[in-house]
Amino acid sequence: MNPDMIYLVPLLPFTAFVVNILLGARFLKHRASWLSIATSAAACAIALPICFAVFKGGHFAGEFSWLPVGGGTLRFGYLIDPLSASLLFMVTIVGTLIQIYASGYMAGDPRYSRFFAYVSLFMAAMLTLVISNNFILFFMAWEIMGLCSYLLIGFYFERESAAKACFKAFLTTRVGDVGFLIGMLTLFTALGTLNFSEINGALAHGSARAAVPASLLVMSALFMFCGTVGKSAQFPLHVWLPDAMEGPTPVSALIHAATMVAAGVFLVARAFVIFMAVPETMPVVTAIGCFTAFMAAFIALTQTDIKRILAYSTISQLGYMVTALGMQGLGAGTFHLITHAFFKALLFLGAGSVIHGTHVQDIRQMGGLFRKMPHTAITFIIASLALAGIPPLSGFWSKDEILLTAFASGNIVVFWVLTLSAFMTAFYMFRLVFMTFFGKARDPHVHAHESPAVMTLPLWCLAIGSVVLGFPGSPFMHHWFQRFLAHAVPHPEYHPSAFVMSCSVIAAVSGIALAGIIYLKNVHWAEAVAKAFRPLYQLSLNKFYVDEIYSRFVIRPFLALGRVLFHFDATVIDGAVNGAGTGSMWLGAVKNWFDKNIVDGLVNFVGAFTCFLNSVVKRLQTGLVQNYLLIAFLGFLVFIIRELKLI
């Protein structure tokens, strides 16, 4: 198989985008989804053999010249190493499944073809990002994903909340992107290249690394991490992700759970050599990831919107991944990225199915849906168990790997925080499950029904993935996945620890049990706890007040600064210009006075004198013809008398 075929992987969905956006609304209509799904499936079909070739030890690369920079040129191309192969595998499968699901979920929407155009563009961008071989192409794809995220969050733009949410999402991630851009510029200045393999080559060996100024590398690593913070919704730029739930649910599953937000983690994985070259940057990564994991889980405890709970859960899990990478656990982080993509996509799709069936999003209005939506409920519970970390589901293995990394690398505080977060994760997930699927129906107006097969089939496919995908990284397969990744970037590995595993399991089980006691037995502990720890409860409910802080200390001052500068522009700068104008006018006025009274005075005097003479002489001008005749006659007389010398 020709590896250059890989170019088709992003190009096919891009074709679907072009066709759908230009022709979709008028000609394709409901068939728009077929095109998107077909191209996505074709991309999958092309990508999977290549992935398997890489799994067997292959390595593909290719490039072409793109942009002349400095003395040389930037070359674009693809690089299929273990890291990108893993993501390629995940993205093509999850993406295709979600699109199949969406063709049912979005049925009847007036902007159906537009939706699939955007999703195809997103797929193209995500796949480009995954296979790209340099940071520029990576960044371009990264930004276009941001655009798709923007367009899809604002898909129902008639809603004010959606309009605000997409603006917020784009702008917040853009803050991180600017950091990423600066990081890239720094990197280019330091190394003269942005090509992944060349960066690896430059930094992998100690001697070569010593030639590069460390300060530039630190700067570049930290600035690039800003991109991750924005895209993967890490504290303090996480605020956009919960609001992003305004988009259609398949979008939340695809972009805001499985793929795009994971791209931030992927960025750190891609730039791993840089972080490894300057290990002093790692604690920053760890701290931010760890705090995010804890904070988001804590917020999720009190949320009631089904999608928002999942959104905070996503933030929290992304925090886990970032933490893992910060502790040099490339394998653990990437592993969790893959498994999380499957079960979180499944959770979102399940939630979508619930919303589709009930038309409500607040879990307080749900209840007893298990009977009415059995497929949705069973797959949802599988995914929840995976997320909570119940063995032998995939989430257990990957989360355990992260906890192990924390424990073994000596970050004990991190370990306990993450374990606590795992407990909270289990609790809020099963709070959600129990309130939604069990108990009695709380709202009589909700008439639930199971979703069509086109939606439940992808659910089952993802459920299978959620169950089995943990095994390649589990001790049963001798941590094949971790070793596979270590081909690409060497990083430390740790032996499994029974203590860590048991802590993880205990946390998960106790969380589920507590949720069961409170929400199945209807014990009123929750209210009691909320009362007892009111400040903490408020903190969680109000999402740590981050939005409010931004509003007060960032957004309003920025807008105010804009207005102040505008005022400044209009009064001071323009005022100076107008002042110059007024000054010359004043000077003109003085000169004008002089002109009028002195120069003009003289002229006017001449005029007035003439007028005076005129007033005398004009009396001769009677307008009477006989008068003139008489005068002429008398004049004639005088003339002849003088001429004839008669007198």
Partner: protein, 103 residues
């Protein structure tokens, strides 16, 4: 010549003077025109008188007298047309009421 030439010339001079007086003093434009006819007649008399006495060719004066009569007829017609037009426009035939041509 039955009577001396200067006497005839004095007569025509008197006639001319009377006509000129009329031109200068008549308010009515028609009166002015009539006075002009007098002056033209005086000129005609002079022409005839000179053609009978001092001219080299005796018919010259008469021919110019004929021209004078023709001119007089033209003066009368055009002048009276102007008077009528004026009368229609300004409802007046008095020369001193037509004084637009002043300061």
């Amino acid at each position: 010549m039955i009577i001396p030439l200067p006497h005839v010339l004095l007569f025509s001079l008197a006639l001319f003077g009377i006509g000129a007086y009329g031109v200068l003093t008549r308010r009515n434009i028609i009166g002015i025109l009539i006075s002009i006819e007098l002056m033209l007649n005086a000129a005609g008399i002079n022409l005839i008188a000179f053609s009978k006495t001092t001219a080299l060719a005796p018919e010259t004066g008469q021919i110019f007298a004929v021209f004078v009569i023709a001119i007089a007829a033209m003066t009368a017609t055009v002048g009276l047309a102007i008077v009528l037009a004026l009368y229609r426009a300004r409802k007046t035939v008095f020369a001193d009421e037509v004084n637009l041509l002043k300061w």
